[in-house]
């Protein structure tokens, strides 16, 4: 299987504090890779290093075949990114946001046009195409943000807690989009705090204090720790307690 994201002893130190401590993993093409951990466990730091936003202190990593030290701009052409901070322009319309990001990713005008039609139809946003993003419900914004992160058809997309603050039904719709993208061969790298979402992932890693404590499919993790749900696994690892 082709490895799209490879991390080898990837480490980031801020002064004496080790935010990410020698994490090692590899993500397959088309895989949905869940990146779990309590707040402050080092998830966001790790993701930022992989996206070329942060220089690692030591270790190696490759994303879409490019090195995170020397080829960050090449990486940026080949990844999509959606952060926990909502990243669309609220004072632009749906259509204008798509056009702007399309332009920034180097799409030609006809391509932007057809992508716009595709997204508007797929997300049923035709009626609000010329409405300011600020007035859309949060769930719609999140799905639009994901579609925009996928505009340039990147081989891998990084999602940092993309579904915070929305109801389970809206989250489920969001995950339908992720499954569809993954089935088309896009690798999905996602951090989340929702344990039901952890169950949806192909494989899950759980970070505790900057280290990866567990990495496997949700089912095998449940079996290994002898619990009914991912929530149980997480409680044992992240809090050192069991809810069983």
């Amino acid at each position: 299987m082709e490895k799209v994201v490879i991390a080898d002893k990837l480490t980031k130190k801020f002064g004496n504090f080790i935010a990410t401590n020698e994490i090692t993993f590899a993500v397959d093409k088309g895989e949905i890779f869940g990146f779990l951990g309590a707040n402050g466990a080092g998830k966001t730091t790790a993701m930022r290093m992989l996206c070329g936003l942060l220089k690692p202190s030591s270790g190696d990593a490759k994303v879409a075949g490019f090195d995170v030290y020397t080829q960050t701009e090449k990486i940026k052409e080949r990844i999509g990114y959606m952060s926990q901070k909502f990243s669309l322009y609220e004072d632009l319309t749906v259509r204008e946001n798509i056009k702007f990001y399309g332009g920034i990713y180097g799409l030609r005008l006809p391509a932007i046009k057809s992508k716009t039609e595709y997204i508007l139809e797929k997300l049923s946003l035709g009626e609000v195409a010329d409405t300011l993003v600020a007035s859309l419900p949060l769930g719609w914004k999140q799905r639009l943000a994901f579609s925009i992160a996928m505009l340039h058809e990147p081989p891998v997309v990084f999602l940092d807690e993309p579904t915070g603050g929305v109801d389970p039904i809206t989250r489920r719709q969001f995950w339908d989009m992720l499954y569809e993208a993954a089935s088309n061969g896009t690798t999905i790298f996602i951090t989340t705090h929702y344990m039901d979402e952890a169950e949806y992932c192909n494989r899950v890693s759980i970070m505790v204090d900057g280290r990866i404590q567990a990495l496997d499919t949700p089912r095998r993790l449940r079996e290994q720790y002898g619990v009914e749900s991912m929530d149980g696994v997480f409680q044992i690892l992240a809090r050192g307690t069991s809810t069983k």
Partner: protein, 371 residues
């Protein structure tokens, strides 16, 4: 190149959509131009004078009546003694005290000379200087009058030098004429330095900056795309200010209008460079606001917009070598009022170019696409 255009288009959409800011950007400069050039006026009028006449003679009353007939002076009170008059200064109800000592008239007759005393409230030094200057000239007038009365031969024929003043470049000594060329450029600092830096820091705060940083946009593309709209808005504002200055205030535009625009463009590049640099070192809009205001106030106070830079202490004059506003105000006044050509303002041009290159490279070096 295409990325830059997309960015410029997006910025303009956002700016034009922000009605409140747009109105502020276009109206406040004009308002400031009108207010500052009418209100920030250093002409000294309506001076309150307290009289202490201890002589009560014909001559002392004549001297006092000369003051009461001058428009700039208003006699606030008559006090019996020096002590009570100084209380008037203390209470701030008087700007200047004229003390006529006893035997004023007798001394004049007997000794051909007499003394009066002026006490001036000098908390505002420049006002005090002007007030005592006015008072001294009134007393000189009075002096000349009594001289001609007592000596029939006119003293002017005794080889005195007469001074005839003629004011060049601002013949009516209009304060507006002095202020407007300076304010025109000072306003560009607001657009470039303040608004541009706040705009970029805002993207940091809402998180879209991080989103842009994970796209393949190049540093130079971001910088050019982000700053171009503010340069254009600045030029529009400059045009509006120039029109108000020339047609509403009747400020002369003796020099080349092209030269004015060339300098406006250069100065705007410097301003947006400063704005970019401030946005680089600030994480929040509050920080950016503080940094921008610090620079703005410092630049304006030292620039010579209100007070002449040549009278500042030496260290301030050295500091002023780094003050872009000082150079551009000199350019504005020289080109608009004197009609200076490029040759006469070339030293300012080189200084401004150097500062522009310096601040822009500093800002570009400091701008990182990483967190």
């Amino acid at each position: 190149m295409r990325r830059i255009l997309f960015l410029v288009e997006k910025e303009f959409k956002q700016i034009l959509r922000n009605r409140v800011l747009l109105r502020m950007m276009l109206i406040t400069p004009i308002l400031q131009l009108i207010l500052l050039s009418y209100a920030a006026n250093f002409e000294v009028k309506d001076l309150q004078i307290t009289i202490v006449d201890s002589d009560h003679s014909t001559y002392s009353r004549r001297l006092v009546s000369k003051f009461s007939h001058i428009e700039n002076f208003h006699i606030s009170t008559y006090e019996p003694s020096y002590k009570q008059a100084s209380l008037q200064l203390l209470k701030n109800s008087s700007d200047i005290v004229l003390v006529i000592p006893p035997h004023f008239e007798r001394d004049l007759y007997r000794n051909n000379r007499a003394e009066v005393q002026l006490m001036v409230n000098a908390i505002d030094g420049s006002k005090a200087g002007i007030a005592s200057g006015y008072a001294a000239s009134i007393i000189r007038d009075f002096n000349a009058e009594i001289l001609t009365e007592n000596f029939p031969a006119p003293p002017l024929q005794n080889g005195q030098v007469m001074i005839a003043n003629q004011y060049w470049y601002n013949p009516q000594l209009e304060y507006k004429t002095f202020m407007v060329p300076g304010i025109l450029f000072e306003l560009l600092l607001l657009i470039g330095g303040l608004i541009a830096s706040l705009n970029i820091v805002r993207e940091k705060e809402v998180g879209t900056m991080e989103q842009l940083n994970v796209t393949p946009i190049k540093k130079y593309q971001f910088i050019i795309g982000k700053l171009t709209p503010f340069v254009i808005i600045g030029l529009v504002q400059f045009t509006a200010g120039l029109l108000v200055g020339v047609f509403l205030f009747g400020i002369p535009l003796e020099g080349s209008i092209l030269l004015m625009y060339m300098f406006a463009l250069l100065f705007l590049l410097l301003c947006v460079g400063l704005g970019l640099f401030i946005s680089n070192i600030s994480q929040t809009m509050q920080q950016a606001m503080f940094a921008a205001f610090f620079c703005l106030v410092l630049f304006i106070l030292l620039s010579g917009l209100f007070a002449s830079t040549e009278n500042m202490p030496l260290w301030a004059q050295y500091l002023n070598y780094l003050n872009p506003l000082k150079y551009i105000i000199e350019v504005g006044r020289n080109v608009m009022l004197k009609g200076s050509s490029f040759y006469e303002v070339q030293s300012q041009f080189f200084a401004l170019s150097l500062l522009t290159v310096l601040i822009l490279s500093l800002a570009m070096w400091r701008y990182r696409k990483t967190v």
